[in-house]
Amino acid sequence: MDIDINIKVKVWRQKGPKEKGRFETYGLKNISQGSSFLEMMDILNEQLINEGKEPVVFDHDCREGICGICSLYIDGYPHGPDEDITTCQLHMRKFNEGDTITVEPWRSAGFPIIKDLMVDRTSFDKIIQAGGYVSVNTGGAPDANSIPIPRHDAEAAMDSAACIGCGACVAACKNGSAMLFVAAKVTQLALLPQGRAEAKKRAKSMVAKMDELGFGNCTNTGACEVECPKNIAITDIARLNYEFLNAKIRD
C-alpha cells in the first residue's frame, strides 16, 4: 500500500555549461508513494522557490513516456531503478522511508550540461538530419497492402521505431557511444522497402555524423539495452554494423 515517506534528494547543481557543478542535498517530507518521480521534483522545486532559492532545472514534457525529453540518472540508473520506463513513468513507490535518492544528469561528452540536470541532446537531432529519414514525399496514406512486407520484418521495424531518442543508451554506456540510438534509426528504415533505397547512404552518413560529434566506440557491453526504456536490442547494432560494412565494402 502507498504511504507517505520522508526522503532526502541529492541533486547535481550546475549554474551553466562552463561552471563547476556540485551536489546539494534537500529534505522532503510526506511525499506520497503514489506520486510520480517528476511530481516529487515539482514539490522539491516549489519548496525551493518558497525558500527563495533557485529551482532545479530538469527536462520534461509529455510525462507519459512518448516524447523522450525526460532524462535523469537516478541512483545509478538512467531513467531510475525500474524496468522499461522513462523517468516520467517512474513512481515514488520504488523508494522507501528515509532513502537518500541521488539524481544526476546524463554524463557524456556528447551531451554537455546546460544547467543542473538538463543536458544538450541536439547532437541526436544532427544525427537524424544526416540521414534518418526517407527523402521522398510520401503523399497520402497508400492502400494498406499495396507493398507486401513480411510480418516479421514489419514487427522488427516497429520495435526499432519505438526509440524515442532519449539518450539513456549513451548515458549508460561506459564508452559514451550512441550506437544503440543510431542502430535503432537505421534498422527501422533498413527493414522496410521504402527505406531500403537509401539504406547504404543512410548507414554511412549517420555513422559519420555520430563520429564527428565525438561519441565513443561500441565495445558491445550491452549496458544500453538494459537501460533503454523502449527495449531496443543490441542486435540492432549488429544490423547497423552489417549495413555499414556492406556499404563500405561495396564502395
Binding site: 541529492k10 557543478g21 551536489f23 540518472y73 541512483d75 545509478g76 540508473y77 541521488t102 544526476e104 554524463r107 557524456s108 561528452a109 556528447g110 549508460a172 554506456c173 561506459k174 564508452n175 559514451g176 557511444s177 550506437m179 555513422v207 559519420a208 555520430m210 563520429d211 565525438g214 561519441f215 565513443g216 566506440n217 561500441c218 565495445t219 558491445n220 557491453t221 550491452g222 549496458a223 538494459v226 537501460e227 536490442a233 543490441i234 542486435t235 547494432i237 549488429a238 544490423r239 547497423l240 554494423n241 552489417y242 549495413e243 555499414f244 560494412l245 556492406n246 563500405k248
Partner: protein, 222 residues
C-alpha cells in the same frame, strides 16, 4: 580504406578481425602444445620443425603484426572512449548492467600482454631469436625449456593467472567479434554467447593442461 581508421565501425572491424585471427592462432598453438601430453619426443619434433625456417619466420611476422594491430587499436579505442565519456564521472556507479569482462577488456588484454612479454622471453627468445641471429645456446627441443620451467610452482601459478584473464577476454571477445562484423540477430544472440564460452573454455583448458601435466606427471630433470 580510410574508413578502417576514421570510422568507429571500421576501427571495430579491425579489432574484430585481428581478434579472430589471434583466436585462430591460439587454437593452433594449443593443439601443438597438447602433443606434449602424449609424447615429449613428438613434441620436440614439432618444435624442431618450427625452428627458424623461413615459413616459421614468416608466420611469426604475420602473427606479430596481428598482435600489434590488435593492441594498437585497443589503445586507440580505449583512449577515444574515455574522452567520449567525459571528465565528470557518475557519483553512483552502476555495476549491474554489463558484465565485468565486457567493461574491462583493456585491463584483461593488458594482463595477457604482460604474460606475453614473459612468455616470449622464456621461450621465443631462447628458441627462435637465438637461432635466427646465430647466438650461443639456441634451444630447439621445447621440452628442455618447458620441463624445468613448470617444475617451479611460481611459474605454474603465473601462467594459470594469465589463462584466467585470457578466458575472461575470450568469453566476451568471441561473440563480440562476430557481432561487430554483423553476424548476429535475436535468434543467434544466445547461441553465440554460449559458443563463446565453449571456444574460450576449449582454448584455455588446452593450455592449462600443459603446466599442470608437466608439474605433476613429467619426471623431474633435476
Amino acid at each position: 580504406m580510410h574508413w578502417l581508421i576514421n570510422s568507429t565501425i571500421g576501427r571495430k572491424f579491425v579489432m574484430s578481425i585481428s581478434g579472430l585471427f589471434l583466436i585462430l592462432f591460439l587454437l593452433f598453438h594449443m593443439s601443438m602444445n597438447l602433443v606434449l601430453v602424449f609424447s615429449l619426443d613428438a613434441y620436440d619434433q614439432v618444435t624442431q620443425f618450427l625452428g627458424a625456417n623461413w615459413y616459421a619466420v614468416v608466420a611469426s611476422l604475420i602473427l606479430a603484426a596481428g598482435f600489434i594491430v590488435h593492441i594498437l587499436y585497443a589503445s586507440i579505442l580505449t583512449l577515444q572512449n574515455q574522452k567520449a565519456r567525459g571528465k565528470d564521472k557518475y557519483a553512483v556507479k552502476n555495476t549491474k548492467d554489463a558484465s565485468w569482462s565486457s567493461k574491462n577488456m583493456y585491463v584483461l588484454g593488458f594482463v595477457v600482454l604482460s604474460f606475453l612479454v614473459l612468455h616470449m622471453i622464456q621461450f621465443w627468445y631462447e628458441m627462435q631469436f637465438k637461432e635466427l641471429f646465430g647466438m650461443e645456446g639456441a634451444i630447439n627441443r621445447g621440452s628442455e625449456l618447458i620441463v624445468p620451467l613448470f617444475k617451479q610452482p611460481l611459474y605454474v601459478i603465473v601462467y594459470l593467472i594469465a589463462f584466467v584473464a585470457l578466458w575472461l577476454h575470450l568469453t566476451h571477445g568471441f561473440w563480440s567479434a562476430l557481432h561487430t562484423v554483423g553476424w548476429n540477430n535475436t535468434i543467434w544472440m544466445k547461441r553465440l554467447k554460449n559458443i563463446s564460452y565453449v571456444v574460450a573454455t576449449i582454448i584455455v583448458a588446452g593450455f592449462t593442461v600443459i603446466p599442470i601435466y608437466v608439474y605433476f606427471f613429467v619426471p623431474s630433470p633435476f
